[in-house]
């Protein structure tokens, strides 16, 4: 064998193992498919890029490698390492905290398994592995066990999570060499009981954190604090573990890792794994109604491309952004390829909510080449071993540049060309990406941002840490003034200061009250209970639930109406029944924002930008019933949801009233312009900040009590409306001073640090929003650029005094001009 046997690393499976040997013939290659697509659909392809092949770079197995481990590795068919694996070994074994940046399927697990197993075998050390999901944790244990068996190492690796039975827990604690868990379990099940883990912590040498790029925003800020607690507990037991992390490609892996663990981290970013050539297509569905800016659905294009690929014998993966989309796409593909129930399925769906055994079966079938296609949510974006495929089709932009590359990385065999297709949906962000391919292709992956010192999150964990071990005077925890926080908790009756220590005093278990995943998590499921049914028909984002799933709401799926009978807010469920109502419903929501403190501001000739602390009250007092077609208001209902109130941070853009009046004389039109501009800015900002759109909120209004206090929303006719917080409509024309402002706020109490960087990017946000609108193919403005406008421009008679009607697109463009002419 001249080619060294490096074929099968653990998450990089090229099937050479006998038991995994794929019966598949050599795949036909993607070139014919590519040629066919580019010839027939040239007008839909907005960009085509070739990513050149990368040759593998290798290094010898480390000389100091424990012989048993070396033979285990050899038994798995590995004779040498990739260069990044060798670099990781070097860094980790010298005791440096290390983060390894690896694309999908490039042998990352060996980066941490080698040093960990070495330490277990040589010194009886222990290691803790943290994975963001239980499924990944189980994969990891399976993999460790395979290596363990291959070399007869006798290393004990156990999962410890919510599914671990009570009677097995003691054994995991006392006998586990490698304990595989997740941040939530560490937070609530391990640290508050650290005395039971005393031996484990005493000999803890390595903490492995996989997929660190997933720990951003609120979740990441929580994890950073859990790790502060972990380090504090380790210190108590006299250990000081080395952290080994892995990350997908993001802009700031080292910075994120350092923020997470609170110590300098060595980043290994140079990947030595080989990769085949890859073609990437950006694809925009064809326009079906230019006036309304309507395009064919992304789904239709995804099935078109995927069917073509399957017919040509190529193994494909389809990524969709919701579970529902996964199911629908799977059905359409199965209707074509799995019509004969006697034959094994060629298409599988894969998502959270399936049983682990089902998922394992799909993974195995993929590795063995027995499946032609898998349709998945982000669940397969992470490091689950499914081997390498030929074609990746992304049904909609995943939301971040990093996740896009991660998903595209699922296609790519070492000696074969692969194809990735990113299909834009009608979402503004998608449209922006596929219409501005250069932006996407040039974009460095996003920064993952966390705010470990976010005051409320920090306070939550100070509480938990104080429960675990009393704080001593002079101790530090995070970047805020700890004594102030401890005094506060003492005033609350939770702590007691005595003898230079702060003792936990309350009869409560604080970790139970702190969820690491933000409140804004947890989709609502919509359940059809018509005639005793129990069918889930949709999922709705937390952020949209209050506005779409209130009791009495008409909820539309594929234009078919259901009425919400009951909303179980805590359980995240809405129960609906089929209806034939001739109306739809529109929630009325007001956001009142009050600026508390301006941290920084910049003023230009026609606009001002600032960021700072704000107080926000969001109220959804009721809804209107609107008859189809006539759009007449046929009723009103009350919504009984509590006001959503929070202190947070925001960045805002304000036009100079006089310059605005000169640019857009009609105030109604200016208001429409602001609403449209805010819509575009919101989407662009979410893109720039690598955040989910729900992490940022937006509001248009004027909060200065001197010039007026109103906020604006868009009604169902696509028309801007301004009202006071009491809900009274106001006429912008009648205001003495008209000073609309766009606010983008951090949608988490206290903020998680999105506003300051947003302020730093204030000009980019406005410029990119301008280009999003300018590059849109619509005539007057459409949902993909300025947001829902329906028939606004046709319906509205020109205001008195206005010379001509201005389209929402034009007014938004002028508003953005104003805002960009501002800060210089």
């Amino acid at each position: 064998m001249t080619q060294p046997a490096v074929d099968r690393f653990f998450d990089q499976s090229v099937a050479t193992d006998d038991h995994d040997a794929a019966p598949q013939a050599s795949p036909p290659g993607v070139e014919p498919l590519l040629a066919s697509l580019t010839r027939r659909y040239a007008d839909r392809i907005t960009a085509q890029v070739v990513i050149p092949e990368q040759l593998g770079r290798y290094a010898d197995l480390p000389p100091g490698l424990e012989p048993r481990l070396a033979s285990a590795v050899a038994a798995r068919g590995i004779a040498r390492l990739y260069s990044h694996q060798a670099a990781a070994w070097e860094s980790v074994t010298s005791g440096r905290h290390t983060v390894v940046v690896t694309p999908t399927a490039s042998g990352k697990t060996l980066c941490y398994n080698l040093p960990v197993l070495q330490a277990v075998l040589q010194r009886g050390s222990r290691a803790l592995y943290l994975f963001p999901t239980k499924a990944l944790a189980q994969d990891q244990v399976a993999e460790l066990l395979e290596l363990n068996e291959a070399g007869g190492l006798g290393v004990r690796a156990y999962t410890f999570d919510g599914d671990t039975p009570g009677d097995a827990r003691a054994a995991v604690r006392t006998k586990g060499d490698v304990v595989v868990s997740n941040p939530d379990m560490l937070h609530v099940g391990v640290l508050p009981h650290h005395t039971k883990w005393a031996q484990f912590f005493e000999s803890l040498e390595y903490v492995v954190i996989d997929e660190v790029h997933t720990y951003r925003g609120v979740f990441g800020s929580h994890l950073a604090n859990v790790l502060r607690r972990l380090r504090r507990v380790c210190q108590f037991y006299g250990s000081s573990p080395t952290f080994v992390m892995s990350s997908a490609t993001i802009a700031n892996p080292a910075e994120l890792a350092e923020q997470l663990i609170g110590a300098p981290v060595h980043a290994i970013t140079d990947n030595g794994a080989p990769a085949g050539r890859k073609h990437l297509l950006l694809w925009n569905p064809p326009v079906v109604n230019a006036d309304l800016g309507l395009r064919a659905s992304a789904r239709s294009q995804t099935t078109l491309v995927t069917k073509e690929a399957i017919r040509r014998g190529l193994q494909s993966i389809v990524f969709a952004n919701t579970r529902l989309q996964v199911e629908v796409l799977t059905k359409y593909l199965k209707d074509t390829f799995d019509a004969d129930p006697r034959r094994p399925a060629r298409v599988h769906a894969y998502r959270g909510g399936y049983l682990p055994t089902q998922r394992r079966a799909t993974e195995t079938a993929l590795r063995r080449g027995e499946l032609d296609c898998v349709v998945s949510t982000s669940a397969l974006e992470l490091g689950v071993d499914i081997g390498a495929l030929d074609v990746a089709v992304l049904n909609g932009y995943p939301g971040t540049v990093a996740a896009t590359w991660q998903r595209l990385g699922r296609a790519g065999r070492r000696n074969q060309t692969a194809l990735g297709v990113l299909i834009g949906s009608s979402e503004p962000l998608d449209q922006f990406i596929v219409r501005n391919p250069q932006f996407f292709l040039d974009a460095s992956p996003e920064h993952a941002r966390i705010a470990p010192d976010q005051l409320l999150i920090l306070l939550d964990h100070v509480r938990c840490a104080a429960f675990e071990l009393p704080f001593r005077d002079g101790e530090t925890f995070g970047g805020e003034d700890l004594p102030t926080l401890l005094h506060y908790l003492a005033e609350q009756g939770l702590l007691h200061h005595e003898g230079g220590q702060w003792h936990w005093m309350a009869d409560s278990y604080p970790a139970n009250a702190v969820s690491l995943r933000s409140v804004a998590e947890g989709n609502f499921t919509v359940i059809d209970v018509t005639d005793g049914r129990q069918d889930v028909i949709a999922e709705v984002d937390y952020s949209a639930a209050a506005l779409t799933l209130y009791e009495g709401a008409i909820y539309l799926v594929q234009a078919q109406p259901w009425q919400v009978e009951r909303l179980d807010w805590e359980g995240r469920k809405a129960f609906v029944t089929q209806t034939d109502a001739d109306y739809f419903t529109d929630a009325i929501d007001y956001t009142r924002l009050k600026v508390l403190d301006v941290v920084d501001s910049a003023r230009g000739p026609a606009a001002a930008t600032a960021h700072g602390d704000v107080h926000l009250v969001r109220r959804v007092p009721g809804y209107k019933k609107i008859r189809y077609y006539t759009h007449e208001n046929v009723g009103y209902g009350f919504i009984h949801l509590p006001d959503h109130e929070m202190h947070t941070t925001a960045a805002w853009w304000q036009a100079d009233p006089e310059a605005l009046a000169a640019a857009i004389p009609d105030r109604w039109q200016a208001l429409d312009g602001f609403l449209g501009a805010a819509h575009a800015m919101h989407h662009v900002a979410a893109l720039l900040m690598m955040s989910e759109r729900g992490d940022l909120g937006r509001s248009v209004g004027d909060t200065d009590p001197e010039t007026g206090s109103w906020s604006a929303t868009i009604d169902v006719e696509g028309r801007g409306n301004a009202q006071t917080f009491a809900g009274d409509a106001i006429d912008p024309g009648a205001l003495h001073t008209f000073c609309p402002t766009v606010y983008l706020y951090d949608n988490y109490p206290g903020g998680v640090g999105l506003s300051a960087p947003l302020y730093d990017l204030r000009e980019t946000v406005v410029a990119q929003a301008g280009s999003l609108i300018a590059s849109c193919g619509c005539s007057f403005g459409c949902p993909a650029c300025v947001g829902p406008i329906l028939a606004a421009e046709e319906r509205r008679a020109p205001s008195p005094g206005a010379t001509a009607a201005m389209s929402p697109k034009e007014s938004a463009r002028r508003v953005l001009d104003q805002l960009s002419g501002g800060p210089s």
Partner: protein
């Protein structure tokens, strides 16, 4: 802005979080920040209040002796010396000299590292009296000293007797030793948790198995002016926060009563498990008592209890009794029970009879009769239809051959 200004803004006083979604941030009902803070009384003053003495900085010892003539309700402590040798609840008469009764009063029930036992109550038998030693913390500082003082008694104990101590008091003390970086010998001691036998015998008979319930039902003991356990954390909190010694004596008395109740409960429970008469008198669940004995591989005891309660058994109990009779070779008694149960069409009894007549008596016709009744009974419960149908087919063939 300083941390405290921002804190004040995010967490306005008197309410939950400013976002309206978080949990209320002041769960502690005894915080009462407005309450005047007196200087905490010194250790001596506290010792005087509770009738003890300062044995180390921050630690007050309340020591007392109780003669064995003392009655906790109906039971005299002298019963401790008459525990039988059967070991039904993990203690034999011979063990009584090295029993250590243990009960803690804590800052809460949450468990984990944030719960502090501020009063450690210990009691042991010493010749003709019970010696009670209670160690009280006057603040957080004395914990290491408290564990030190308790050490000799803890390590001398042969059996540690608790009520729910296996899952609460003992792990808690192990945790406290770890936090104070001290070795703890408790887990090596033989553990006798009286909650477990109590729950076995009475779990299905009483509304709950709290110690207070057990002492009322088994000892006929009712406390006077007892401090409810739920108020205990607040008393110590008032001491360390406000120097308030108010109810401290009542906590000490409560703990002492817990210890004495355990000392009386042990012989009372042993009697329930040793003597069917006692079991009947206290209303224990005979089947549960029998199963307790079976777990200890004491079939004769199980049989004795079930036989004595024969007329009060439910079908499950009767089936179990029949099973034990058959294992002991008392086939007639087993058959009698199965026949009684068969009259009520109890499937398991019909099955036993079908098997008995098929395999022992070699009488397929009678067996078939039972098997068919079994099929009907099972059809009502929709269980094992295939298995029973198979039995019927087989028996029908046998019966045909036999006739």
């Amino acid at each position: 802005m300083t941390t405290s200004t921002r804190l004040a803004r995010l967490l306005p006083p008197g309410g939950g979080r400013a976002d309206g979604s978080g949990p209320p941030s002041a769960p502690d009902h005894c915080a009462a920040p407005t309450r005047p803070r007196r200087a905490r009384p010194d250790d001596e003053a506290i010792a005087t209040t509770v009738g003890g003495s300062v044995v180390a900085p921050g630690v007050v010892l309340i020591e007392g002796v109780v003669p064995l003539t003392h009655r906790q309700g109906r039971i005299s402590l002298a019963a401790l010396t008459c525990v039988g040798d059967r070991g039904s609840i993990g203690v034999t008469g011979a063990d009584c000299a090295d029993l250590l009764f243990l009960d803690t009063e804590t800052t809460g029930l949450a468990g984990g590292t944030g719960t502090l036992p501020f009063l450690l109550g210990l009691a042991r038998l010493d010749a003709d009296q019970v010696v009670v030693r209670q160690l009280l913390l006057t603040g957080f500082a004395g914990e290491a000293a408290l564990l030190e003082v308790a050490q000799p008694w803890l390590s001398a104990a042969g059996h540690v007797v608790t009520y729910n101590g296996k899952s609460f008091d003992v792990p808690l003390l192990v945790t406290r030793h770890r936090l104070q970086r001290r070795a703890c010998s408790l887990p090596e001691r033989h553990q006798v948790d009286l909650l477990h036998p109590t729950r076995s015998a009475f779990g299905r008979r009483w509304a709950d198995c709290r110690l207070g319930t057990a002492e009322q039902r088994l000892l006929g003991f009712t406390r006077v002016d007892d401090l409810p356990g739920a108020l205990v954390p607040a008393v110590w909190s008032a001491l360390v926060r406000h120097g308030d010694v108010g109810d401290l004596r009542r906590v000490v008395a409560h703990n002492r009563d817990d210890l004495l109740t355990m000392a009386a409960l042990l012989p009372a429970l042993a009697a329930v498990f040793d003597h069917p008469d006692d079991a009947a008198r206290t209303g224990a669940d005979p089947l549960a008592v029998a199963r307790h004995h079976l777990r200890r591989a004491d079939e004769p005891a199980a049989l004795e209890h079930l036989s004595a309660a024969r007329d009060r058994l439910d079908p499950d109990g009767q089936l179990e009794l029949a099973r034990l009779h058959r294992r002991a070779g008392h086939v007639d008694q087993a058959l009698a029970l199965w026949h009684e149960l068969a009259e009520q069409e109890v499937p398991r009894a019909l099955e036993h009879l079908a098997k008995y007549h098929e395999h022992v008596r070699r009488d397929p016709l009678t067996a078939l009769d039972y098997a068919q009744r079994l099929a009907e009974a099972d059809a009502r419960t929709e269980l094992r239809a295939d298995e029973v149908a198979h039995r019927c087919r087989r028996l029908a063939q046998k019966a045909a051959r036999a006739s």
